[in-house]
Symmetry: C2
Subunit: 456 residues, 2 copies
């Protein structure tokens, strides 16, 4: 069944009521947003004029300055940076080399918070496992003093749910390896492509666990190592993963579309400003900040919403949700009418979930109805997600999740290949239309008035 | 029109005569070859157990040893290495960094025979051109002392013909840049993909021209640099392309299926053993040596051909056809019944050209007919090609060209992405079937006899 058939069946059966109609103002804003250029302008500008913006580095600081200039120029109010301190992990020279039996170099990158090897690297015998479960079941004696290699191919999923289970080797693998006495760990990249571009990503050694070097091989290199191991001869690897940790600064960049009722709870939308250091963070997550900001701008262009729309470009998401945690610390007790984050690429939105509460079910269904012409399936009324906003959602704030199609997301995710050319302008516009629809639906009506802010 | 329709129209009109029939021995060998495993075994083995095998290096020497072991184990006769000396260019540390106005790193690799920068790199202002023609028309004063950037997007073509014209910036660009007094040159990779993997490739400074550093940016990085230049501010780049030149050895590996008539001219088939250093040379050209060797092996398994089949795994093709030139020097005056090389990847063969001479037109048409069930279009009777065999073809030897579909070849060509996972086993088998058909057609009949060589 195609998505539209599924959507039609759902619409025809339970949610939402067909007797409802979409308010003309919402429908107009939605349809106009399909011609949006604001989002492309932000993605193109941020990725070209800043490029990579690793959390806590001077590049992320330049990105914050860029963001303040851009948001101010677009006419948003209350543009500000909320700074915070954080530990900053950065990579140095990286290499993996099979010394024997078949000498050759493999393409690798360190996982976040990997221990550093000496500049000349470390050398050890490789012991391979075909899944995280197989590795965890192994005797310590099989692993001690060796370089552990865990490989488990991740399948494609539209909703990205494979990332959880198949991400195990990256997330808990290093901690388990250290506990078992391994010298180091290398994993098959958590991804779905076949390019020589390894997938970076964060991992965190559990408390009390000694950090060891931890890296991800590109998928072709992981399969090469599997073939080499399969030949049954002892395999020796030299692994060089130099990195350093310093103290640094990050910050959330915040801007607002002031509502007519300054006392009404705000609607928070956003994405994260930082990126991994290998690509330019076009899909992760320049697109997310661009889509949500473009939608807010389109509401602002149309007039004054009842409720304030707050845009947050979170800092330091990739390396541990520092921005989200900082926002919660500063604003977690303020009332929020709804919170939503875009952080799953730039492919089309295919599903809307929400958790606005029983009392607001009619509003949630109105949102589903308004989104359905964009090919968006009505999903759950009892869940929402988003990395930076997770602490707020866990604390019970109402949320909306506009889910992007993730079928191809993990081809690119956290790799050098996360560059502007991977963003499809038409899909980006569909995203802007969906977020504009969401804001227009939840903001309590927009009153047009003589424009105070110049359009670009 | 699909390929098979085109083939049908051609068959129905002019070539070849429909009244002909394919000899049962040829048809049987062709159809059995569609289940071939010999070629995969060679591609998998060579790319896994040797990996990259840059011309003139110890890796290429290991590849020759591997080849001798493999060809001997497969039961071929007269397995030998014909060595030769050559200059060996190898790369060291490589980096490109925009220092201003938008600091960021770009992904680059040096072109073959690039001059070396100092280890700390060189720094210069970038001047950009949108095509080789635009660059060549520029005044020397616009270029002198600067880093030239030439970008011209190469389109996809089935026959690979775009590689000639759009490869200009790589081939003559460095020489032109040096003559104009440029500090260095960087080009958009000659390729058709969108990955952060630059395309290496050879260039040669013309006699009397001073070598300068010359590199290729990955295509996403080339487009990034174009966007940066378009903003109109002076762009400064630090370019590090360390390389060295030494004297080294290479060699052609030769093996034979002895014919019943040792005096009859041989049929030469082969590919090249060396690869660029960034990938494992799976499609360029482990596949070529594998396909042609598998086809010869299948003939040998069936019995004794009238004419000797000579397999050549040429050395040092990528960096200047050293193996082909050496073969011509040693064997160019020997009679050859036909020569053919596979060096365009592992996608399906879509067309057969040949140049066997007017007197052998019936044989050429019989070949077209025998190949047509594989979906292969009858092409010209007056041309053939192949890089290593070009000197022989130019000298007038009869040749056959089984042309692979090149639509996706330049996504991978000369990049780190040239790895085993890019080879489709079914397409590889179609190639083996075509080459087996060609050998069976031209070899003058195979007499089955008690097997002297064990099958694997």
């Amino acid at each position: 069944m195609t998505r539209s058939i599924v959507a039609a069946l759902l619409l025809a059966s339970a949610t939402p009521a067909l007797s409802q109609t979409v308010p003309p103002q919402v429908a107009d804003l939605r349809d106009q947003a399909l011609k949006d250029d604001y989002a492309w302008d932000i993605v193109e500008g941020l990725t070209t004029e800043v490029g990579q913006r690793m959390a806590g580095t001077e590049a992320e600081a330049r990105a914050r300055e860029w963001a303040v200039r851009k948001l101010t120029a677009m006419g948003f109010a209350n543009v500000r940076i909320e700074p915070f301190d954080m530990p900053v992990w950065t990579r140095g020279h990286e290499a993996a080399e099979i010394l024997g039996p078949y000498p050759q170099r493999l393409v690798i990158t360190a996982l976040g918070n990997s221990a550093s090897t000496p500049p000349e690297g470390i050398t050890g015998e490789v012991v391979g496992f075909n899944s995280e479960a197989e590795f965890e079941a192994a005797a310590d004696s099989a692993v001690r003093g060796k370089i552990v290699f865990v490989s488990h191919a991740m399948p494609r999923t539209q909703d990205g749910s494979s990332y959880g289970y198949f991400g195990g080797p990256r997330r808990q693998g290093p901690t388990v390896a250290s506990r078992k006495g391994a010298l180091a760990i290398v994993v098959r990249s958590i991804g779905t492509d076949y390019h020589r571009n390894p997938h970076a990503g964060v991992q965190r050694f559990e408390d009390g666990v000694k950090p060891i070097p931890a890296g991800a091989l590109s998928i072709p290199d992981a399969e090469q190592l599997q073939r080499i191991l399969k030949r049954g001869k002892p395999v020796t690897m030299r692994l060089t993963l130099v990195s350093q940790v310093t103290q640094g600064k990050s910050g959330n960049v915040i801007a607002e579309v002031p509502g007519r009722d300054p006392k009404a709870p705000v609607i928070l939308v956003g994405g994260h400003l930082d990126s991994w250091d290998l690509g330019t963070g076009a899909i992760d997550d320049a697109s997310g900040v661009a889509i949500t900001t473009a939608a807010a701008k389109r509401i602002m262009d149309a007039g004054r919403p009842l409720r304030t729309i707050r845009i947050v470009w979170f800092g330091a998401e990739e390396v541990g949700l520092f921005g989200g945690i900082n926002y919660q610390k500063k604003h977690g007790t303020e009332p929020h009418y709804a919170i939503a984050e875009s952080d799953f690429g730039a492919d089309k939105i295919w599903k809307v979930d929400s958790k606005l509460g029983k009392a607001r079910e009619a509003e949630a269904k109105a949102l589903q109805l308004a989104l359905s012409p964009l090919g968006i399936v009505p999903g759950s009324l009892e869940k929402a997600d988003g990395s930076d906003i997770e602490p707020l959602l866990n604390a019970g704030l109402p949320g909306v999740a506009l889910s992007q199609d993730g079928t191809h997301y993990f081809d690119i995710h956290h790799t050098p290949d996360d560059t502007l050319d991977k963003v499809d302008p038409e899909s980006l516009r569909q995203n802007v239309a969906a977020w504009t629809t969401m804001l227009a639906t939840l903001t309590g009506g927009i009153e047009s008035e003589p424009k105070r802010h110049k359009r670009r």
